[in-house]
Symmetry: C2
């Protein structure tokens, strides 16, 4: 490695106590973005409001000349144009996707990286070709156990020059129930550049790091993938030396549509006294949702919210709501989701060194004004 890379691209670190968000974190926050929480009103997130996390640069890609290769331990390697993929029978899935680092900036100590608060989640309709059909066409296996996906985004991370690359177990990639898609269309239009144009992987139920954007290569192999984004990044660790556990499916979580109207700077919400409807959306990548509970007294008491029926979109968030009568004064609203495996949201902050998989309950400060 060129020594100059290591001078610039330094190891992961934790912020010091009371260290404010720094210039580098701010530069990431200015280019990446969450979904403004009022967009929770939309069942499918409108174009341009879907959260964006880009590790390196958004490639300046054209569909012409783009090839998706499927190779490695396959009997019939494929090299497909975008047009050839678009001509195949397509599947459309409504998928809620969350960044694995969502909530990182609320942790203490704060892992220094993309400083998300709570808004790195959105839902889109992805259209494309099921990955398993491409793997079957290529004759993947037998005997192979892993599939490695390579994107066209290129950069350096903690001293390692790389194309963005992640893997899945071949069993997951081939499982019809896992619904893994090679998507060419988002909400009925070609993928926007920041969402992976012209092709991306979509792994429903998993945090977003699995859904490799600007997908150009699928490699089937016998050995586990040990690249940076699999073995170094995206692992649950308490200490830097640990091997850690891989980050995979999304933890259950509920978010509230912000009630009333905001203060520009503090984002505190104002409402008028009287009947309100607290509403929001909830999801879990691990299992179907079982319940959403709401507290209007900062977690001292909880009431079950009405959860919209689970419809045909098993990978999408579900709406929930609860009536509330607001009285003048300050209130803290919060909601927590529980899935059918009994996994629920903590009210005290767990911590891990990468700031991954955080699903602490959201607290929404609301000031109810006098009638007027």
């Amino acid at each position: 490695m060129d020594a100059r890379i290591g001078e610039v691209s330094t190891p992961a670190r934790l912020a010091a106590p009371a260290e404010g968000i720094g210039r580098e974190e701010l530069a990431l926050a200015a280019r990446n973005h969450g979904m403004p929480l009022e967009a929770l009103r939309h069942e499918v997130t409108p174009p341009g409001l879907h959260y964006v996390l880009v590790h390196y640069d958004i490639p300046y890609a054209t569909a012409e000349g783009w090839r998706l290769t499927v190779r490695g331990r396959v009997r019939r390697p494929l090299s497909l144009t975008v047009g050839e993929l678009r001509e195949r029978p397509a599947t459309t899935l409504r998928v809620t996707m969350e960044c694995a680092g969502n909530g990182r900036a609320r942790l203490e100590p704060r892992p220094v990286s993309q400083p998300w608060l709570v808004e790195a989640v959105s839902t889109a309709e992805w259209t494309g070709v099921p990955l398993r059909l491409l793997l079957e066409e290529a004759g993947a296996g037998p005997g192979s156990a892993h599939v490695v996906f390579t994107g066209a985004d290129h950069g350096v991370e903690r001293g390692v020059e790389q194309d963005y690359r992640r893997s899945l177990p071949l069993a997951t990639a081939l499982d019809p129930a896992a619904d893994v898609l090679v998507a060419h269309t988002m909400n009925g239009a070609p993928l926007p550049p920041q969402h992976g144009f012209p092709l991306r992987l979509v792994v429903p139920g998993w945090y977003g790091m699995a859904s490799v954007k600007w997908l150009r290569d699928v490699q089937v192999q016998d050995s586990p993938f040990t690249g940076f984004q699999q073995a170094e990044a995206y692992r649950f660790r308490q200490d830097p030396g640990e091997e850690g556990e891989p980050v995979t499916v999304m933890a259950p979580r509920a978010l509230l549509v912000p009630p009333g109207f905001p203060d520009f700077m503090s984002r505190t919400r104002f409402v008028r006294p009287g009947p309100q409807r607290i509403e929001g959306r909830a999801w879990s990548g691990a299992a179907a949702l079982a319940a959403v509970e709401v507290s209007t007294d900062d977690g001292r008491s909880w009431r079950p919210a009405e959860l919209e029926p689970g419809g045909p979109h098993r990978w999408a968030w579900r709406g929930w709501s609860l009536p509330w009568t607001a009285g003048p004064g300050r209130h803290v609203l919060t909601a927590r989701a529980t899935d059918e495996q009994g996994w629920t949201q903590p009210v005290l902050q767990p911590w891990n060194r990468g700031g991954f998989g955080n699903n602490l309950v959201q607290r929404v400060d609301v000031v109810c004004l006098e009638a007027g």
Copy 2:
């Protein structure tokens, strides 16, 4: 005013020396977003990459039932549906728009507000009805001097509950050369929610605060508008007590397409040795561009860049480029634009209390690796 508003919504302030970006600034940075600078490669910013600044909430609007009223000192008040506006002859303008607060987070001391670095600028093609045609149809004036525009976004700012509202001189609003548009279409599609769906004002050449989103009312009046966003916010001041000067047209500015590839965390750029092409785009809202100069030695020497010819899009940025041979080591690239009025970019940081109209030259750190 309800006393509870003032408890939450506090006066503007400056950050203390060495005060990092705080939670409130971060919450704004997470919901608003700049244009990732690699998108400077696109002459028209692709959907979803255009910078976004929303003061309050994005209204949950439908086109059905939306009305644009034109009233006040007019002879024939108008109340138009979105369909009625769409049926009128349309004009399309390619417009570069920049947030008035772009660069604020680089100021010392830092005004505490939306913490932009340099990326709050983009270019879109806006289609709609020239404002002057609507004012003429309504019979605006004579004698009136001001037009007030009201958006549907509602919130509190520095203690003041308000709909977002701005004004223009009637002479500007009626001037065919000013090209002010009531837009219903962005890049050939209905406006996205965050860009003003279903209708917004577009004031070419001005900072973005003038282009009122979610436009629902146009009021012609004799007296100057003294609302919050005109008389309190968006003014150049050194001290809080000053009346200050209004923020209007965009200062000249050039930005570079980031060369090579980035480090994830520091965003430092890496290139390989050899011939490169430094390129970027430049604009001025005040006058036509005259020149762009580039420095590859942190401002010690400057060379003229090749500026693309001014085409039919007088309100849009223009591309520029310069060849450069990179040698191993660290470099600071910078560019500065000058317009035909002789207005150019400072290399030392001017300052104002709101952090507006900043056009300090951009500095891009580049590490050229060894050949390999």
